[in-house]
């Protein structure tokens, strides 16, 4: 029986070949070794009688120990009577459980049953770095709760008949998201969150008001949107045309996203001049820009033979020629704001969900592979102001994990199969690498002291696009020396995929674990680092709450999109906010086809 997956320890961790052989011989009893290590072990044992004898002893000792299974002791017959009486006494001594009065509200639904619903949800929220995505000062201080304004929904009206719970005041901050309307048009919602409902409120605390939404148009239907720390632009991963685009989030004249605007956007530093001109939405049906040879100045690290026609292009892609936008023609007024956008990568398939801006906002990193699947994933970096992203790694086997200060944290399988995983830090400018850890995809906190990482084996993803966790667990560890501090297990495998994000303080993080049947749906949990590094889940914090992929955390808020289908409704934007006094929540009204951002 294989109790464990493949091992990770590198051969150079042993002081001698004999020590290595004995350790491997013991390890092989509980799980398979990698092919290379197993071959090495067999060859060593064939030539080392002493090690072979020890390996045989391990197996013989094991059999001797397992022989004890034949003698199964029988517990005393009155053991249950004694135990039941003790439990009853325990119950009487403590009366009603104190936990009954205030439990976590866990909304468990069979995620798998939801997976058949293909609604795409886009949430634009506060960034992990800056929290407030589009700024606070210029944002409209829209009313968030029906409870503090006129009731707008039937539920609000019904709830209004009863005494409304007192909302919890939280620090100022905005949450934004996109909504995809049935005609394909997009609306950017911006809501200031300064009050949330008490977690034990049963009803009537109102819903998020999205009346401040403004129409926008970008050249591709977004799958994921990540805002820059300076809130001026966002990187949009297309779900349809294999592009990664940068769009301006600042309307002309400095208007922020929360206000109705018909003006053209201000070009960002990353936006080439040709992209600033259109005043109408590019036609989404337009063919993607043709691939061209990579720019030598940005793809210098790519071997020439790899720059084939199958390669994703890093050439700045011209914004498709403006054409009449369905959104424009279908929308009588106001005219949509056109977000100037620039394709920084084309003909790629973005892999995983850990794309992010660096803390200083100067770089953006993501993992992608050619859209034709001709090679494995590599890390791409885009320096704000450049026309295109460039491929930072070239081995076709590296995945972006997170940022540690201004360094890219990257994970890849070890060239030595038995050694498992290598995580390195890479200078995004020079490409210089340094070994960092032996865990997979560590999400390093903003202080650079901790990381949540996969400790275990990895295996090829079923779609061939990279790797997925194998046998092991998701752990909170010290960074980068993961073994030097108490390890806290966040989740045990098997896990299909995960997304971990920290708030700006490094005290809170959220973990999203993908459902094994639908990678777009999963469960979201919020954690706090307590005293002595203990993991805590405050009452009211999401705990394996169903959520679509993509969430934002920061400024004391966690925002995500609920999967459609719960109660027969569409997706909602759900927000949990916390203060020293507690945790509260608020939701948007269900949307037919709400869109995505993070």
């Amino acid at each position: 029986m294989s109790r464990f997956g493949r091992i990770h320890r590198s051969p150079d961790h042993f002081s001698s070949a004999h020590e290595r052989a004995r350790a491997r011989a013991a390890e092989r009893i509980d799980g398979p070794l990698g092919l290379a290590e197993a071959t090495w072990l067999d060859e060593h044992l064939a030539g080392c009688a002493e090690c072979a004898a020890i390996a045989a002893a391990y197996e013989a000792d094991r059999q001797a120990l397992r022989a004890l299974r034949d003698a199964q002791p029988v517990p005393p017959r009155d053991l249950w009577a004694r135990t039941a009486a003790a439990i009853e006494q325990e119950s009487r001594d403590h009366g009603r459980s104190p936990r009954t009065a205030g439990v976590r509200q866990s909304r468990r639904v069979p995620v798998g049953a939801l997976s058949g619903l293909a609604i795409v949800v886009v949430v634009v929220g506060v960034t992990a770095v800056s929290g407030d995505l589009f700024g606070q000062g210029a944002s409209p201080s829209s009313a968030l709760f029906s409870a503090s304004s006129a009731p707008e929904t039937a539920a609000d009206i019904a709830a209004g008949a009863a005494a409304a719970p007192t909302p919890i005041a939280v620090g100022a901050g905005n949450v934004q998201w996109l909504r995809v309307d049935p005609d394909g048009s997009l609306a950017l919602n911006d809501s200031s969150i300064d009050e949330v409902c008490p977690i034990d409120a049963e009803a009537g605390c109102g819903v998020i008001d999205d009346a401040t939404a403004r129409d926008i148009a970008i050249a591709a239907r977004p799958k994921t949107v990540i805002a820059s720390p300076d809130e001026a632009q966002a990187v949009v991963v297309s779900g349809t045309d294999g592009t990664v685009r940068v769009m301006s989030l600042v309307a002309d004249g400095g208007d922020t996203a929360g206000e109705e605007s018909t003006s053209a956007p201000t070009a960002t530093a990353a936006t080439p001049s040709e992209s600033t001109e259109p005043s109408q939405a590019p036609d989404e049906s337009a063919a993607p820009p043709a691939s061209t040879a990579p720019d030598e100045t940005t793809e210098a690290s790519v071997p020439p033979e790899e720059a084939s026609s199958g390669e994703p292009t890093a050439e700045p892609a011209e914004t498709p020629a403006p054409s009449e936008s369905p959104a424009t023609s279908a929308s009588p007024s106001p005219e949509p704001t056109v977000a100037a956008d620039l394709a920084i990568a084309s003909d790629v398939e973005v892999v995983g969900s850990s794309a992010a801006f660096s803390a200083d906002g100067h770089w953006f990193a993501f993992t992608a592979r050619p859209a034709d699947g001709s090679r494995g994933p590599d890390i791409y970096v885009w320096r704000v102001g450049d026309d295109q992203a460039r491929r930072l790694t070239t081995d076709g086997a590296t995945t972006f994990a997170s940022w540690a200060d201004d360094m890219v944290v990257a994970s890849r399988p070890s060239p030595d199969e038995a050694a498992g995983v290598i995580t390195v830090t890479i200078d995004p400018a020079s490409g210089d690498e340094a070994a960092a850890a032996s865990t997979w995809r560590p999400a390093v906190d903003p202080t650079g002291r901790r990381a949540v990482a996969w400790a275990g084996t990895i295996e090829s993803a079923t779609d061939g696009a990279g790797w997925r966790p194998g046998d092991g667990s998701l752990e909170l560890q010290a960074w980068p020396d993961g073994t030097a501090s108490p390890i806290r297990v966040v989740a045990n495998g098997p896990i299909t995929d995960f997304d971990v994000r920290w708030d700006e303080t490094g005290d809170w993080f959220a973990v999203w674990l993908a459902d094994d049947t639908d990678p777009e749906i999963g469960r979201l949990s919020l954690y706090r680092i307590g005293a002595n590094g203990r993991l805590e889940q405050p009452e009211g914090a999401p705990d394996e709450t169903p959520a679509l992929a993509g969430f934002s955390i920061g400024q004391g808020r966690l925002a995500w999109a609920t999967p459609p289908g719960q109660g027969g409704e569409g997706s909602r934007v759900a927000i949990v906010a916390w203060t020293d006094d507690g945790v509260g929540s608020v939701e948007s009204a269900p949307g037919a086809d709400i869109v995505i951002i993070r």
Binding site: M1, R3, F4, G5, I7, H8, R22, A23, A26, E27, I29, D30, G31, I54, A57, Y58, D61, R62, A64, L65, R66, L68, R69, D70, A71, Q72, P73, V74, P75, P76, L79, W80, R82, T83, A84, A86, I87, E88, E90, S91, R96, S97, R99, T100, V103, R104, S106, R108, A455, G456, D471, G472, S473, E475, I487, V489, N492, G493, D543, E544
Partner: protein, 192 residues
Amino acid sequence: MSGTWDRDEAAAFVETLFAKHQGEIYAYLLRMMRDPEVAADMTQDAFIKAYKNYETLEKPENARAWLYQIAHRVALDEIRRRKIIRFLPWTGESKGAAPSAEHLVMDARLSGDMQRALERIPERQRAALLLAELHDLTGLELAAALGVSHVAARALLTRARESLRQALAAERAAEAQAEASRDQNHAARTDR
């Protein structure tokens, strides 16, 4: 298990757990403590703790590993409380009733060099071996029961196998030496 912590629900759940797992939990604690009476008391204690900590069980499918984790902690606490590191010596004179036939059979099996070797190794390594080889816990269950990461559990088990090998070798060497000494004394008496 997140959700409303209901006493009746918890009691019913623990009763189901008891019916399903009492035998193996008792066996594990007996193998750790080597005293039937103590093992019975600790089994009872483990299920009471399961009742009291019902809300910490995240998923029902993890109940077995969760129960072993509780039992393991109960055992370690008791070992530390008694300031014993090794197995209690089997005297055949437990408090109360005389040992059952099963206990005697088990003791006979454990009373040889394997028992003494197990006594020699650290209790966490001993627990890892017992849980893995006699209780068939998977790697993840073992990690959960021991309260360590999956990687640490495997490393612990690897160290335990080496510790057991060395301890068994030491026991056998000591036994051989004692045998030789007995033969020497016998020869000396014969010579007289």
